[in-house]
Symmetry: C2
Subunit: 227 residues, 2 copies
DNA sequence: CTCCCAATCTTGACAGTGGCAAGATTAGCA
DNA sequence: TGCTAATCTTGCCACTGTCAAGATTGGGAG
């Protein structure tokens, strides 16, 4: 479910569970797969290296040769998750057509929808283990997702927006969808929003991003031509 | 540092560390104190019940009689933290005077400033252990903090704002400051913001909340009188 | 084709964790 | 003054992440 298959390299292994040859063939990818599933289900805090190893059918110390650390495994999971997020958002942008406002809102909706449909995963992508060390790869992959938002916000602000104005819009939009996602996951948006399910949160995201875009556009227009 | 002292009840204990009488006197409060400090320093994930017990000078199983669970202790810490947040925000509102916009922005700034000066604590107040069970007390205390924001946003929207418009503003403002706090804590706002320290994040919060308030106000005004 | 090195995986151990159970100690009420 | 119930301790279990040393094997050098 998580995502298609991963390059099954080198050796064609008939049965991954029954006959456990001493060398697994593609342990690294298998570990990331299993970890991704577990994190998606129970979150990063609940992840146990030993459990991952067990699922893959390998001894508890085997992961050590591919991931120095539990944090390293989580970083790999995070990188994959951000790829997923970026793909989702890019697809949403593509589907949104040419209208700049529609592009922004649909990117925002894609963001919160991803959070809503992968709650534990989404939480694990920020803060916690991924925050401190901030694996370089994770940062790079996450940037791609954010670029979608930045691009959409830029168009929504209009061509004559100042860099500073643009920066405020981008920061505000990103903060808003991010905060909206987390507050909703925490169930802190009142029961009206919670009851509505995925639809309610999507509508909220639309309203909020529209509000922001509208604000910047008006501000830009009322200022007159760019100095 | 965390906050003054807690009601030292019942018995006056001369030396809390040296002579450990069989009955501590006020173990519950002492545990919360110690846990609060540890969470503030290292976050909820890093908290160890045994470490807390050690700090208080008590056996590792003693906390069981006051907190059924590690989550229960964290809930107590969370409740205290939300009290702190609420107090900070109320103070900010008081200092802001009468201007509705100033009230909103200063509440928002107080929110992100709290996050910035208590990073690990702030993270622990949301998601993770506090998210699932959602201790009733924590919810109640947190509501008080959010009320400040709601109140400020209401005034900023103007007297003729519709309930629906108001709800959008409140949700947007709250989401924005919340997301802003977390993204900044994660170091995801670019190096310009990170380098600025507490000042930069406060400025961002001001700009974002002002943008939102402005948007709603214009929307309300341009709509004409309330239907 | 053979042999050997290095990568890969396993077994075993250690310190630390949260939670449970049974016993020691004491506070405060009858 | 005595005794019950609350409080705290000791001891244990299953589990975790990490390390060290040994077993196994793939794949290139000769």
């Amino acid at each position: 479910m998580a995502r298609g298959d991963v390059t099954e390299s080198r050796r064609a292994r008939a049965n991954p569970k029954a006959d456990h040859p001493y060398h697994h063939g593609d342990l690294r990818a298998a570990l990331v797969d299993a970890a991704y599933e577990l994190v998606e289900r129970d979150g990063a805090d609940a992840l146990s290296l030993r459990e991952v190893a067990r699922r893959v059918g390998v001894s508890h110390a085997a992961p050590k040769h591919h991931f120095s650390d539990k944090a390293a495994l989580l970083a790999a999971v995070g990188a994959r998750a951000f790829d997923e997020l970026a793909a989702t958002m890019e697809q949403a942008r593509r589907r949104a057509g040419d209208d700049p406002l529609a592009r922004l809102t649909s990117a925002g909706v894609a963001y919160v929808s991803f959070a809503a449909s992968h709650p534990a995963l989404f939480r694990s992508m920020f803060g916690g283990a991924l925050a401190g060390a901030a694996d370089a790869e994770v940062r790079a992959r996450s940037r791609r997702a954010f670029e979608v938002l930045v691009d959409a916000a830029s168009h929504a602000a209009g061509p004559s927006a100042t860099p500073a104005e643009l920066r405020v819009l981008v920061t505000a939009a990103w903060s808003a969808v991010h905060g909206l996602s987390l507050l909703w996951l925490d169930g802190r948006l009142g029961r009206r929003a919670r009851a509505g399910g995925g639809e309610a949160i999507a509508r909220l995201a639309t309203e909020v991003t529209e509000l922001l875009a509208e604000a910047v556009r008006r501000r830009v227009e009322s200022r007159g031509p760019r100095p």
